[in-house]
């Protein structure tokens, strides 16, 4: 395999070694199906790459990365590892595999020659964060629970919390509270004063939950049971009755799943 480095907006990032790139292709597993994009160039190459990435083939569309471009994302069979395929307006693909450790990025030129780059994640140890390791602990606990994601700029984050807690308590769910996006400490203090409520401010750094768009809007929430996360998010503020409907529906699906 020849790796060529073409001009790329990410050209400042480190190129992996050939040995590393070869290792990426070393495991052959199922999961090569392409995302439902009408026009993708270099399909064979993309499919070969996806085969090595253990795709769960559950493609979910994302906002177009560029005008006339497309983006789809799928989980893999490993918590915290997802795949995203983006296409340029002319149909050239780029494939990303994100995990809690790094982003691996493949792109192909018009001759379908690949370029590869990686970028390792590194979270300073003194930061209060909620990572994939924390999520895995919850999932492996054997308990059912609900994660509430909030942001101080969205007032309903405070106003809906009691309703969320009520609904979770009625279903004996453990509640984990996570700050969605980095927020100004002064803003948090001001909102706490206004709403007389303190919410846990561990910042969301779980690649799994970020891939599931838990930061799209606040408050946002997701339930888990049976070692798995729900497929649908509990988006937005609701009263306890509506939160309860969401939880019941998703818990039923999770408990019925293997």
């Amino acid at each position: 395999m020849t790796l060529s480095r073409r001009f790329s907006p990410y050209s400042r990032l480190a190129m992996p070694t050939l040995a590393f790139a070869a290792s990426v292709f070393s495991t052959q597993v199922l999961g090569s199906a392409l995302p439902p994009i009408e026009k993708i160039k270099c399909q064979d190459k993309l499919s070969d790459t996806l085969k090595t990435w253990d795709s769960a083939e559950d493609w979910r569309r994302q906002a177009d990365p560029v005008f006339n471009g497309r983006a789809f994302r799928t989980p893999t069979h490993k918590i915290g590892t997802w795949i995203e395929v983006q296409t340029s307006p002319s149909g050239l693909p780029e494939a990303y595999r994100t995990s809690s450790a790094e982003i691996l990025h493949f792109s192909w030129d018009e001759k379908c020659a690949p370029s590869v780059e990686t970028r390792a994640f590194n979270i300073p140890k003194d930061e209060k964060v909620f990572t994939d390791a924390d999520l895995e602990k919850l999932l492996k606990s054997g308990k059912a629970g609900a994660i509430y994601v909030w942001y101080p700029g969205f007032d309903f984050s405070y106003m809906a919390y009691d309703e969320f807690k009520k609904a979770a308590a009625a279903r004996h769910l453990d509640v984990t509270v996570v700050l969605g996006v980095e927020a100004n400490a002064e803003e948090i203090a001001q909102r706490e004063k206004t709403f007389k409520l303190h919410l846990d401010d561990r910042r969301l750094e779980s690649v799994e939950l970020l891939n599931r768009n838990l930061t799209l809007h606040f408050p946002n929430s997701i339930v888990y049971a049976n070692g798995k996360l729900a497929k649908v998010n509990g988006l937005g503020a609701m009263d306890a009755k509506l939160y309860g409907s969401y939880m019941d529906e998703q818990l039923k699906a999770l408990k019925g799943s293997k």
Binding site: F7, A63, V66, N68, N184, V232
Partner: protein
């Protein structure tokens, strides 16, 4: 070439206090040509859930209560800054879109405040009075609703509470209130308040088509039970309400949500109605849909965007066209980190402002780099601008960006080489062409902006906003320096110069 070039070419003095690249008069013409949105500094607290007035001069934001930001003031340097007007409206008040004569404020009851009163009286403003001051001839034009009770220039004499429907009458009830939302005092004027159709979360309101200065119909949608109610309003010459008739509460989109029994079937989340109240957008089954609302409250699915978006804002209606929507969304991309630590949130929380045009079914990210940095609550003005609240990534100050999407779209079809002889002679394939366009944006950002050119979409948009002549000049003066940074690129100066001709 990047940051050092900014300083050497434009001089450090051109860097603005807010941290945005505002280009000075000494800068090359192509730097002034590139699109830079105006940024309005927010004085004090930004507040949440911003709604933008039709003229773009005001915004309503929530901060426990709902307050107004006056955007018309300027600081001593002539830059726009906000001034806060406090009110007693509860969290997330929603203007009756279209003209903003009234604002619908929730909180135990739905109170309709005159926007004029809020501007003039601030925290002293009460829900709008219903007093029939219309000229006699005009007052006779409208049919008298059954059970109607209207104060005629004098306090209504009834007692507290004052439900006014009589047996067999329409479900028309209005209440006397004193002050803002609670307590009723005999002798106080009748107020535009509804205690039947109220909500804890997420309502929206708009004026239906066909209204004029004398008479209009307002529509309010509610989230919890997917319902809507119309209000027929007759106005005095000064725009205040002379009488209001409440229509029955109707299930909204029941024909669609009743098809299933699950939470996902039944709930349309984050619903927002269009500026003329005839469409609604919200999340249904995890993706954003646009629905046509019929007069009986039934709905028809018009669009499924296929993605889940944050709450949308509709553009103002244009004859013969459907309204566009604008929303905030995040994309995943690798990007450089300034301090060596690279957190997952930095890769995923690349929020941007997106437009979806149902006429073309196209989604356009308005992603030039100064518009990155968690833009929130984008809202459309009547003249087609979009205002969005955002955090300036440099100064960490809250600002309101005033975006002119007409400067950035329509984007030419980047999936093929443009149909001109020069382009066809120059570019072998579409990918070379799109790389040339992206490179133009990168050159512009390197020379004229302090932002790192890291987003491909941003580079496209920035390049395509340039005046073609300025763009060619920019290429001529900066190609060699760009080429030195990209020695392996096959793109020649001619490639970039020809790509310039495809910009606006």
């Amino acid at each position: 070439m990047r940051r050092t070039k900014i300083v050497s070419t434009l001089a450090a003095a051109t860097l603005p206090a807010l941290g945005f690249a505002q280009v000075s008069g000494d800068a090359p013409s192509y730097c002034r040509s590139g699109y830079q949105p105006e940024m309005i500094k927010i004085n004090g607290s930004a507040g949440a859930y911003m709604r933008v007035s039709p003229d773009g001069n005001y915004a309503i934001v929530s901060n426990g209560t709902s307050n107004i930001l006056d955007l018309t003031g300027k600081d001593s340097d002539g830059n726009r800054v906000t001034k806060e007007i406090r009110t007693r409206m509860n969290n997330e008040a929603y203007p009756v879109e279209g003209n903003w004569n009234y604002v619908a404020a929730p909180g135990g009851q739905m109170s309709f405040y005159r926007f004029k009163d809020l501007l003039e009286k601030g925290t002293e403003a009460s829900p709008g009075e219903i007093v029939d001051n219309r000229p006699a001839e005009s007052a006779q034009e409208s049919p008298k609703p059954k059970g109607r009770r209207v104060a005629k220039n004098k306090p209504a004499p009834s007692v507290t509470p004052a439900p006014t429907s009589t047996p067999g009458s329409s479900p028309y009830q209005f209440y006397q209130t004193s002050g803002q939302t609670s307590g009723q005092t005999p002798g106080e004027p009748e107020r535009f308040v509804d205690r039947e159709h109220t909500v804890q979360w997420y309502h929206s309101a708009a004026e239906l088509p066909g209204g004029d200065k004398k008479h209009a119909t307002y529509r309010v949608s509610l989230f919890s039970e997917n319902t809507m109610r119309d209000y027929e309003v007759w106005f005095n010459p000064d725009g205040s309400a002379a009488k209001v008739e409440k229509k029955p509460i109707k299930p909204l989109c029941q024909n669609i949500v009743d098809k299933g029994n699950t939470f996902s079937d039944r709930l349309i989340s984050q619903p927002i109605i269009s500026k003329d109240g005839t469409e609604m957008a919200g999340l249904w089954h995890n993706t954003t849909h646009i629905f046509k609302i019929k007069d009986d409250g039934s709905c028809e699915v018009e669009d499924d965007l296929g993605i889940s978006s944050y709450k949308v804002s509709f553009s103002y209606p244009e004859p013969g066209k459907r309204s566009k929507i604008v929303f905030t969304n995040a994309s995943m991309r690798m990007r450089a980190s300034s301090n060596g630590s690279y957190r997952p949130s930095q890769a995923f929380n690349n929020f941007g402002t997106y437009i979806y045009d149902p006429n073309t079914k196209k989604m356009t990210p308005l992603s030039i780099d100064p518009l990155r940095g968690v833009p929130n609550y984008p809202g459309w003005t009547k003249d087609g601008h979009i205002l969005a609240q955002m955090l300036d990534p440099q100064s960490r100050s809250q600002v309101i960006a005033v975006i002119n999407p007409k400067k950035l779209i329509p984007v030419p079809d980047l999936s093929q080489v443009p149909d001109t002889k020069a382009a066809k002679d120059c570019f072998q394939d579409a990918e070379t062409y799109t790389r040339a366009v992206a490179s133009l944006g990168e050159v512009w950002n390197s020379v004229c902006s302090q932002y790192n050119p890291g987003s491909r979409g941003g580079n496209f948009m920035q390049a395509l906003s340039l005046d073609p002549k300025d763009c060619v000049k920019m290429v001529h003066e900066n190609y060699q320096s760009w080429k030195d940074q990209h020695p392996s690129s096959e793109l020649s100066e001619q490639h970039l110069a020809v790509a310039c001709k495809t910009s606006h």
